[in-house]
Subunit: 302 residues, 2 copies
């Protein structure tokens, strides 16, 4: 139901073997991209995907490695004759940043809408997905994002029969509608069981560990979190540059009781993240080093 | 003496197997980059080179595929603690474009100087190389660049002896100095033979064929020219978008009597340029399809 692809896993600068961190989420024919650094359109193309189905790009913040690929991405969409509007979402200042970057992409055959997130948290709907933006702690305003797909409860046949409501009205209640009949009001909760577990993916990068991450990532099926450094002795450096070590990320995963964690946004100085994973798994066993193009298909459990 | 590397050969958008067109010229410890699209810093890294030795970036024009990699390149230089100033050169409007793009690269530990080219032709010196910028014909103001390394004549021992000048002064004349002695003036031309053939590289992309290209590329050792389309029937499209076919580029090479030509700036729709090269060589035999990372070392002939 939710198709996840980590297009890149790098921080700071793109490398020949590691594109900059960004995430593609595909749901029900819609695509949402989080962050768009230099080369993100190449990573997308490498997966064999077109940028045209992207309905929305969420930006965590406006450091170049998270947005420098935007003008090129917009032009590639334009060259493919896109006409559907594109929604860009990000911290305050988005319109100014986008307009400034568009000095090299001034003419596009589609409309760009900008939505600037306000306050510490903001929720909005996107094609049936709930997106929760939450402020994290970097050296510029930066947000993490959770994407949740809720799942309603089971239809309770017994309850419907007990209501004495004719079968032909059941479907409307199941779809969430209210039925008025013979002076009586029937509401969905009268026939639906408790909401079932939905799907949830949380993404945060370029931040120190925060309570907001633990709260918003709570119970996620997949938690994608920055891990700039794997070396234990780089904690001071992580604090100085407002990033995290692998172990701090794993501690967040453990506190938020997520199902699975992927690390990303590796420092260019790190050749491979794998040698550090044994230590990471001691804190959070279901932790994995992100890899460019790593995918997951999340389905409702039976 | 002149190290040439075509970092990418693509036009419009970077592809997983083809970076955007840009050229690195290395001479006497200095490096000059022409154009810097999205991913150029990845292509550079792929060659194993750092961006830090780059002293100057020349821009042909400000379409995104020729400049979208600038903010990332600047930040990568800054992250490597560069302190030497960087000179950017390009058509009018450069300062505005650079400042606008720097919204995502505002703080750098080195100075950026911008030089805007004026008029149809402009020449300037760069570390002993002569650079000739010449206007070409695209749908925005666009320049081509020739880089020339002049070579003085041979020292003529016989002439020096006939002058009756003591041997210890010969070296000064050979270095181009004037020697005043016993009321007589000795100038270099009295002992130096005619200037010998130097080295010349010409680069032009995003243009229709022009006389200015033929004039400025004349006698080049290497002529790197755009060829957006290989298919003969795409001539109308080339004219419409102010680009060239392979055959138009080859005709320029033939008219300019260059030694060797490389084609570049291939349309994303072109899988491989090679199938068209037989036809190209009928017009200009020493034509080659550019490849990402293609290099050449140009030395003075004996």
């Amino acid at each position: 139901m939710l198709d996840i692809c980590l297009l890149g896993t790098g921080g700071m600068m793109p490398l020949p073997y590691r594109y900059l961190t960004s995430l593609m989420v595909r749901y029900n024919g819609h695509s949402i991209l989080i962050d768009c650094g230099e080369g993100t359109q190449i990573a997308l193309r490498k997966k064999g995907w077109s940028p045209n189905p992207i309905d929305m790009i969420l930006f965590t913040h406006y450091h170049a490695d998270h947005i420098s690929g935007l003008p090129g991405m917009l032009l590639t969409m334009g060259n493919a004759d896109r006409t559907e509007p594109l929604l860009l979402v990000g911290p305050p200042g988005l319109t100014k940043v986008v307009n400034s970057l568009r000095i090299i992409a001034p003419e596009l055959p589609f409309e760009i809408k900008c939505k600037e997130i306000q306050g510490p948290e903001e929720s909005f709907d996107a094609f049936g997905l709930r997106i929760d933006a939450f402020k994290v702690n970097h050296n510029v305003t930066c947000y993490g994002y959770s994407m949740s797909l809720d799942r309603q409860g089971m239809f309770q046949v017994e309850k419907a029969e007990n209501l004495g409501l004719e079968k032909k009205y059941w479907g409307r209640l199941q779809k969430g509608e209210v039925v008025e009949l013979d002076g009586k009001t029937y509401t969905p909760d009268m026939v639906m069981g408790p909401a079932r577990k939905g799907l949830k993916v949380t993404y945060c990068t370029d931040t120190r560990p925060t309570d907001s991450i633990v709260e918003n990532a709570a119970g996620s099926d997949l938690f994608i979190c920055e891990g700039m450094y794997g070396e234990h002795d780089k904690l001071a450096k992580a604090k100085e540059h407002k990033h995290m070590t692998f172990y701090e990320a794993a501690t967040l995963a453990q506190k938020a009781q997520v199902k699975e964690m992927w690390l990303t946004h590796f420092s260019p100085s790190m050749k491979k993240p794998d040698p550090f994973m044994d230590d990471v798994k001691k804190i959070f066993p279901n932790a994995h080093a992100g890899k460019d193009g790593k995918t997951m298909e999340l389905d409702f459990s039976e």
